[in-house]
């Protein structure tokens, strides 16, 4: 089993979700995060005091998939999350040792 962590632009969330559904992914977890890579932030002014804000809002998607779906998932996310402009994000893949479905107690790929 593999864990996919994808940091994407917030407005791309619906597109990515749709693309993943199409390749048969049934579930995922999404968190609102802040981050930056090469994309620059912005400045804000409050009563004359200027602040530089480096961190930009992003969305982090986490999903655990069967090994044989890896290539399809990477392709689906990359294609749907891409805008071509700086700040599109990144995908990280790691190994998962175990998974459990809490309701039924199923483990391994049956739990995904």
């Amino acid at each position: 089993m593999k864990k996919i962590e994808a940091i994407i632009k917030p407005y791309k969330l619906d597109d990515v979700k749709a693309a993943l559904t199409e390749v048969g992914i049934a579930g995922m977890t999404v968190t609102e995060v802040k981050g930056f890579g090469r994309q620059k932030g912005h400045t804000e002014i409050y009563r004359g005091a200027e602040y530089t804000v480096d961190f930009l809002p992003k969305v982090k998607m986490e999903l655990v998939i069967a090994d044989n779906k890896l290539e399809a998932v990477l392709h689906a996310i990359s294609k749907s999350a891409q805008s071509g402009k700086i700040g599109d994000g990144k995908i990280f893949v790691s190994d998962i040792i175990e998974a459990v479905r809490i309701r039924t107690g199923e483990t391994g790929e049956d739990a995904i």
């Binding site: 002014i45 409050y46 009563r47 004359g48 005091a49 602040y51």
Partner: protein, 416 residues
């Protein structure tokens, strides 16, 4: 015979309504300030506002009204003959208003006594210790607010006798609270991380909502200070709105022109500056003068908040000095320039209408208020700090005042 034949229903209704409006300004202030602090401190600001509504609400009827407006003692303070509102009944007191019950005047004034100390909450926000705060505001209400109110508005008060013109509290409210704020922020010191970490408003929509409530309530503050539903009240209403609008517009245009974009925080701050500045003048000057005063308020307070603070580096967290003290002084002196007897026969003419003396009377009042408030604030702070402590420990400041002072969390998300 009783009070029936003396009382004017329209005047009384107007003053009671005005009292309710002024009360609403303190919760409005809670929102205005609350939105500007960081998330972890929003409740502390609101608690300070609400506890003042309770504390001063009690203190006023017990003895505050007596000290401020009671029988004169040496032109400095009232005596305690009216403790527990003795002799303050439904008959009008002609020293203050001939057509409304004395208790109506009393309760109207109560709301001013409540909101004045609430103003300087902004100076020590995010680092004040609640216990020290509680004792300080009580002392300030009794020994700073009550005497100054007596000087300016009390029968026998030395500034009133001199002919000072302060229609709704430029000196009594804004100058006194504003200069106390400066002293307080200097004494308590800067917030931890000031100038190195960003301290941005956590909820500007609150601040905007608060401003709306303040502007609305200010019609009670200013217009109902006419103590009658008459032409003076109308004048005060019109000048109040005009000055506020002009000031907000000025601040927005300055930001737009010099900083690139007009901000919402700037625009609402401008309107508050206009409101504070017109407060002493609203019943004595005309609408066009009010417009000039508003523009001046917007520009001068903008400079005070952005340039003065940056130049001297004091952490007046929510700009109480820059808006209320500077605005209050500006407005109180503006009365000395723009006042017209034609607008209000009980007032006087200002410098621009042929009378130089009024300006010097205004200057005296401003000077006395500044000196007295400053001195007593210093003394009270130092004494209370020695015995109770005015500033929280560093770790309490980091944790946030909501948790450290009140064991509460504003947006816990629990209980969903």
């Amino acid at each position: 015979m009783g009070s029936q034949s003396l009382i004017n229903a329209g005047d009384t209704a107007f003053v009671l309504l005005g009292s309710a409006l002024v009360l609403l300004m303190t919760p409005g202030l809670a929102l205005f300030y609350g939105g500007m602090v960081r998330r972890k401190n929003v409740l502390s600001v609101m608690m300070q506002c609400f506890i003042l509504m309770c504390l001063v609400g009690v203190q006023w009827v017990l003895f505050g009204y007596s000290l401020s407006f009671g029988p004169d003692l040496g032109h400095f303070i009232g005596n305690l003959n009216w403790v527990g509102l003795a002799h303050v009944g439904m008959l009008p007191n002609p020293d203050y208003s001939a057509t409304i019950p004395a208790q109506a005047f009393m309760i109207f004034q109560a709301m001013f006594a409540v909101i004045t100390p609430a103003l300087f909450i902004g100076a020590f926000a995010e680092r004040i210790k609640f216990s020290g705060f509680f004792v300080f505001v009580l002392l300030w209400a009794v020994f700073v607010y009550d005497p100054i109110a007596h000087w300016v508005w009390g029968a026998g008060g030395w500034l009133r006798n001199m002919g000072i013109l302060d229609f709704a509290g430029g000196m009594v409210v804004h100058v006194s609270a504003g200069v106390s704020a400066l002293a307080l922020c200097l004494l308590i010191g800067k917030r931890k991380g000031f100038n190195s970490s960003p301290m941005v408003p956590h909820n500007l929509p609150f601040t905007v909502l608060g401003t709306g409530l303040l502007w609305f309530g200010w019609f009670g503050f200013n217009a109902a200070s006419a103590l009658a539903a008459n032409e003076i009240a109308v004048n005060a209403f019109v000048t109040t709105n005009t000055a506020s609008a002009a000031a907000g517009l000025t601040w927005a245009l300055i930001e737009w022109g010099f900083r690139g974009k007009p901000t919402v925080l700037g625009t609402v701050s401008g309107t508050i500056a206009g409101l504070a500045t017109i407060t002493p003048a609203c019943g004595f000057v005309g609408p066009m003068s009010a417009m000039i005063i508003g523009v001046a308020a917007g520009a001068v307070c903008y400079l005070a908040v952005t340039k003065l603070k940056a130049r001297f580096g004091y952490d007046d967290s929510l700009d109480v000095f820059g808006v209320h003290c500077v605005g209050g002084v500006l407005g109180s002196l503006a009365v000395g320039l723009f006042a017209q007897k034609a607008i209000n026969a009980a007032g006087n003419n200002g410098l621009l209408f042929g009378n130089t003396r009024q300006f010097y009377i205004q200057l005296t009042g401003v000077g006395a208020t500044l000196a007295y408030a400053l001195l007593l604030t210093f003394v009270f702070y130092i004494v209370i700090d020695k015995f109770i402590g005015m500033r929280v420990e560093e770790r309490d400041e980091e944790e946030g005042l909501d948790l450290s002072q009140h064991r509460e969390s504003a947006y816990s998300g629990e209980g969903e």
